[in-house]
Point group: C2
Chain length 370, copies 2
DNA sequence: CAGTATTCGTTCAGTCGCTGAACTTAAATC
DNA sequence: GATTTAAGTTCAGCGACTGAACGAATACTG
């Protein structure tokens, strides 16, 4: 804990107002005062700062019924700090630029097999793509990089699918760079202002990862390794997994064990049987997760989203059978609609979260680089 | 989020100082200023309030080497608010009174089979025990009740081992009552100022529960159901469990599946084989937990603590085999030394946590009841 | 033993941020 | 055009922290 002073009060209230503006675009200063409980004078003072710093913009007079002076509409500034997100996959580098509202403003995709390629080489591509997106004429407040492996601090400790280890993801761009695991990044992409704030995203991309979101924040674990769902044991006598152990979920529900969507749609019996098995095993593993964490919403992403229609049945059956709290609040299972862009999108939004969380410091720092 | 004002600053800094005093008993005001970063004037003002409110006491001049005026030692007041904790078990009601430092000052145990007994009857016993402990002449700041079942809010939704359901744990005592799951309560008892702040307590009492502590706080889940380790599936073709599913950890590592300590010490082959199996299955389930949450310390409690010498081997072997992050930070497994009192102790300490977390509000409320 | 150096704790003016009330501005209604 | 209602601004006041100055207490020094 740090000592607190009046500056912290201002920080807190600035963030509070920015969040209120985000949630209620077009509202007036008076409306904000009513919503937040702050005095009108305080709102005026803080909003003026946010407007001066380019985070909030006045959108013109607000529509009202009845008499009285019309308020000035406020909304997130479209020219505020944008986020750049880059996802490094085994066969692609996908990037996007998101505006302050979280919408995608530009995209870049560089195809090519990164497996075994030198990290420096790939990071040079990443840097070029970031620079290209940052040159769009909008301010960039942060850059995020999603990688398929174990991340600690800004270092990718191990990425079996890329055959990388101990790679320091340090880009030479003038803004903060955040590094995240791919599943965690994809999980953050599902976090929407009006959506659930507690869920697990299951990300089927080569391995099986999970991003666990509790009250809008990622559960990262002590070292940042959390979410390794793929190596939950679902059958101690099962087949040997790449990790050395037996019966990991990945051997049943990883990409290698899944059929194509085409084969499933054709009703291929082998495909359907594989999906039945994958769904059941996923359900078994996720029941364990739900029993442990009491997080009642499951979002299927990646390959599992594409195959969701065939996975839902066995998955839900297994959840109903095994989740202890199901009687009081049955878990819900849905499929992500974000597609391949999820990881880049999530990490792009996360890259500017520090500004959302503490706009006052950002404004004081005046650190609009790039 | 709420709007913040100067009051919140004071709240925060009061809590900061109380925490510093707790961690450094006997320190002076000047020392606190150096530790916390607050100005001496602020420390004086806040400490005076804490002393006036009975939370902190001056312990006399502090020993110092070198010249200069000697400071006045400060420490948690031994006459500050105490906590009362009661654990309701299947065959006992165990209670204790803890002082502000967390030490046990008095105990009560009422033996007797609560299984199937009317909840009102048992709660009457609980109330009597609480009143008895509260009548010790020390102020009581909160009461906690630990129960073996699913808890939401102050309601025990379901306790299969007691055959209770939907019981509102509302005691007529003049202080706040907190209700917690037994495993969670036992987990909180392991939380010590100088100990780890991230761990999982596995509580083997009839069922198998877990209390997950992350950064000193319990992970309760969305509804408060988190920690149901006992029904993690460790073998989909295993024996049927009381919950209806197959292969739950509880059927391998629950009390019913464990031998007595005596049998194990005697080297009984059947007992040893049961322990080998229980240890392996525990390791399998806990590997999943560690992979999911990246919480690298496991504390065995209850029956598992008593049988720990026989469980450690297979448990650690399984963890080494299955935990993905083990290469960078191998999990550690230890046994709890708290014994049967753990749940009552943990919930007693938790019952006064609201005062620790916000002493200023407590003092303003002047709510020293009982 | 007196003087000095050093540290503890308090006092006080100063600053900063929030507040409530008064005031100004602006739009709708009569 | 007057009136009513609401938005936004101005301003004195308050509470909390700060830094410097001060008084108090102790140990060292000659």
């Amino acid at each position: 804990m740090r000592p607190a002073g009046q500056l912290d009060v201002r920080r807190h209230n600035s963030a509070l107002l920015l969040a209120a503006v985000t949630a209620n675009p077009g509202c007036s200063r008076a409306g904000l005062a009513a919503m937040t409980g702050l005095a009108k004078a305080t709102v005026s003072s803080l909003v003026d700062h946010l407007v001066a710093g380019g985070l909030v913009a006045e959108t013109g007079p607000v529509e009202r019924t009845g008499r009285g002076r019309t308020g000035t509409g406020l909304a997130l500034s479209a020219t505020g700090p944008h986020g750049v997100g880059v996802a490094v996959g085994v066969d692609h580098v996908t990037a996007c630029l998101v505006d302050p509202l979280g919408g995608v403003r530009a995209r870049r995709v560089r195809s090519g097999d990164n497996r075994g390629r030198a990290p420096e080489q790939v990071l040079a591509v990443v840097t070029r793509v970031v620079r290209s997106l940052a040159g769009q004429g909008v301010p960039v407040g942060g850059v995020g990089v999603a990688v398929p492996g174990l991340v600690r601090g800004g270092v990718l400790l191990s990425a079996p699918n890329l055959d990388w280890s101990e790679v320091d993801i340090a880009l030479d761009v003038g803004v903060p760079v955040t590094v995240a695991n791919e599943a965690n990044a994809a999980a953050l992409a599902e976090l929407r202002p009006d959506g659930p704030r507690d869920y697990v995203l299951v990300s089927g991309e080569v391995g099986v990862g999970a991003g666990i979101v509790r009250d809008g924040a990622l559960l990262t674990g002590v070292h940042g390794f959390a979410g390794e769902l793929g190596h939950l044991c679902v059958d101690p006598t099962g087949p040997r997994c790449g990790c050395g152990a037996r019966g990991c979920l990945e051997t049943y529900a990883g990409t290698a064990a899944l059929p194509t969507r085409q084969a499933a749609a054709n009703g291929d019996p082998e495909a359907l049987s594989a999906l039945e098995s994958a769904g059941t095993r996923l359900g078994q593993a996720l029941s364990g997760l739900v029993n442990l964490l009491d997080i009642p919403t499951i979002v299927l992403g990646g390959d599992h989203a594409r195959l969701a229609p065939w996975l839902f049945g066995p998955l839900r059956a297994e959840l109903a059978r095994r989740v202890i709290g199901a009687r009081w609040s049955p878990p819900t299972v849905v499929a992500s609609t974000l597609g391949r862009e999820a990881a880049a999108l999530g990490v792009a939004r996360a890259a500017v979260d520090h500004i959302r969380a503490d706009p006052d410091s950002y404004l004081r720092g005046a650190g609009q680089a790039l």
